[in-house]
Symmetry: C2
Subunit: 120 residues, 2 copies
């Protein structure tokens, strides 16, 4: 698959994909003519990157995570440690989300705007 199709599938620009490559998040095989050639795995990885990104992880963090996931030289334990660390972050963020959701739900109930109505 060429870069244009991959970009269309993920609804991102080709520039963004090349940008991720420069940052070391993804790589691509090259055809004889120099065009990048992507596999289904690349698409899966890119979807994972976009997902992590929507959740507020920086490209540097995502790069470190995917790099270690692909590094065969790392021990299972090392990979597991990284995964557990990220999971803890995700769980903290989920708690934050629920807290914000609760705040908004509470204000929906008693419409007094945020208890902040007296601030000017």
């Amino acid at each position: 698959m060429r870069i244009g199709e991959l970009a269309r599938r993920l609804d991102i620009s080709t520039d963004t994909i090349r940008f991720y490559e420069r940052r070391g998040l993804i790589s691509a095989a090259r055809r004889a003519n120099g065009y990048r050639d992507y596999s289904a795995e690349a698409e899966a990885l890119l979807r994972l990157i976009r997902l992590a990104q929507r959740l507020g992880f920086t490209l540097a963090e995502i790069g470190a995570l995917t790099a270690s996931l692909q590094d065969q030289s790392l021990s299972r334990d090392a990979v597991a440690a990284i995964l557990r660390e990220k999971l803890a972050e995700i769980e903290a963020r989920t708690a934050d989300l629920q807290a914000l959701g609760d705040v908004l739900r509470a204000r929906l109930a008693d419409v007094c705007p945020l208890g902040l109505g007296h601030m000017r």
Copy 2:
């Protein structure tokens, strides 16, 4: 409370607080000498802003939300509509988080790194 104490309480810089003020997210009373003076409500609002921000909302989005929440001229229904819209976003984000958490948990189980181990 002066800006320094507020900053210490939230563990952010005074520059950041003044920056939020320039962006219209918060406001402050002034003392005779020109110093900003903050109330407990300001602290609550600032905590809410930081919470929303950690969750990936932009300052512009947060500003629009808090502005409409404080706007007495808006009808209850209008405020409720805005809250419901934000809640929907939060719920979508929570689903994303759970998806990423599931991916990581699955990889923790079967250690084959992300099913992406075959990418080079």
